[in-house]
Symmetry: C2
Subunit: 315 residues, 2 copies
């Protein structure tokens, strides 16, 4: 039997927002309860600014696990090539047979990251939160807003970016989606009801003192030890801290920076998945923070759900 | 562009013994000189006797690296399914683009293991060694003999196996290849000029005291810490010990068992690849031993060579 390779066209056709949100929500909850298997990733480095990460993940008891290969070669754009390549290999957890290759060009990773951010931000924000700001102007800045807008109405979007052209362009895209949107300096963006940071920053981008009582902040950009978006002072002010993976966030998330700075204790976080099971009890005026570093089990859940739609008959 | 998936038919067509032996020889030599990149593998375990290993490897400076997925689900045969599944993903080391999937059903791993065993056994054995014995009756027992026979004449093959039917059947296959072959008890098999052990044994299968002065022994079956084919006493008698990867053989090879038993020092081994560069100087009457645990860089070298034949034009 020929190994099926599914393209972005096929994947896009079946991966509806409902499917993605449901798969990601279930995986975050399973991970919070320890019902996932996520071994440490493989990492290869290459000369000329290239690297490769290989991540495996499984939601315990589900039919499939995944092995995801993701490469980043940062001089590619100069040669007219995309920086990132990758694929997701879906494997039966009962026979080890490789069911399919999802040649997704990184699409599923982008969607699960956006869905996780949207689900956690929605769950932790006040029901009447109306303004949203994003720090960063890349793909995730756009996706985080678009996916959160599927879960709740958003009145105004403030965009804080270093590059003015990209910031304006992103605001125009949000206009087209029906949002009020405008560029904002960091101090103003930090004062929104909901804040999502999506940058590759190596020093905090968010002025902690400007975050209002009653606001929620989600950071999704800190996925390596040298990165840092959210300042320790923000964690010191937080009444509730959520992490998508306790150990990973301690190792290389903003939560870890805060713990090492003495602004939070290393047991002060709550698994983000637990906050998706029932309405979050947040005191009036409390600041809440979520540190999301990306969990391999989400890849497995999403890829398996996509394949279930495309090849429901396969064993 | 659609991701190419190459089948065993295509792979078998181009992977001539010459191509395999050349690629494996170069990779072993490169690895001996530290010109490879082989990160620790990912390992996932499943209920019902299943596991998955993901190995990455690169021969420094070559165009491609590989990520190999290999699963073993040991209850599959009861359901009429093969135990092992897997594939090799070939990735450009200069752009990160995934060049192809080799849907090889584990064929390339079997061949590179056989080629490595044959190359090292041939290099370390006396030029006039004429009798060969194999311990074990599985696929590698057959392949190790077949591939060594490509490198030197073999007069007689002795087969030592636990299962008499399988032992006889393997002897018949060797007959068909033109060798004298017969079943032999362990004591007699251990006294051959060349000995290759290919078992999944967890306690030594080879009676060290029966190995003759001037003989060579290669062990290829010990690839996990709980496995052990070659007794420490054999290493104590050896004038030359070769390992395909020093650290890996210390961690989970027969060499490690010998070192922990005090039968060899942890610096007494020579990189196997160094012995392929020029004729090995072996004193008359010396016993030599090779412990091969399998090196990920061989996968990369072989997959890259195969793809080079199939898709020489691809960037």
């Amino acid at each position: 039997m020929t190994l099926p390779v599914l393209t972005t066209t096929e994947i896009t056709r079946v991966a509806t927002p409902e499917l993605v949100l449901t798969a990601v929500r279930h995986a975050l909850i399973a991970h919070a309860h320890g019902r996932t298997s996520v071994p440490p990733p493989v990492h290869l480095e290459f000369p000329d600014d290239g690297d490769c990460h290989v991540k495996a993940g499984w939601v315990t008891g589900t039919p499939d696990f995944t092995v995801k290969i993701a490469t980043g070669f940062y001089r590619n754009p100069a040669a007219g090539l995309p920086t990132n390549h990758g694929l997701v290999c879906v494997v039966s957890a009962s026979t080890g047979r490789i069911r399919a290759i999802l040649d997704d060009q990184g699409l599923l990773t982008a969607w699960r990251t956006a869905a996780a951010g949207a689900l956690v931000t929605h769950a932790m924000s006040r029901p009447d939160a109306a303004t949203l700001s994003v720090f960063g102007t890349g793909e995730q800045a756009r996706l985080q807003v678009a996916w959160l807008a599927r879960l709740r109405p958003i009145d105004t979007v403030l965009v804080h970016g270093r590059n003015q052209d990209r910031t304006r362009s992103l605001c125009e895209q949000f206009h087209a989606l029906g949002h009020h949107a405008r560029p904002a300096p960091a101090d103003e963006a930090a004062a929104a009801d909901m804040v999502i940071t999506t940058t590759p920053a190596t020093a905090p981008v968010l002025p902690a003192g400007r975050v209002r009582q009653g606001a929620h902040v989600t950071g999704i950009g800190t996925d390596m030890p040298h990165k840092n978006e959210l300042p320790p002072a923000l964690f010191a002010r937080a009444a509730l801290i959520a992490t998508d993976d306790h150990q990973q966030c301690l190792d290389h998330g903003d939560f870890g920076h805060a713990v090492r700075a003495g602004a939070a204790t290393d047991t002060s976080d709550t698994p983000a998945g637990l906050l998706l099971e029932k309405p979050v009890e947040r005191p009036d005026g409390a600041i809440t923070v979520a540190d999301l570093t990306g969990v391999g089990a989400l890849d497995a859940a999403l890829a398996s759900a996509v394949l279930g739609e495309l090849a429901p008959q396969a064993p």
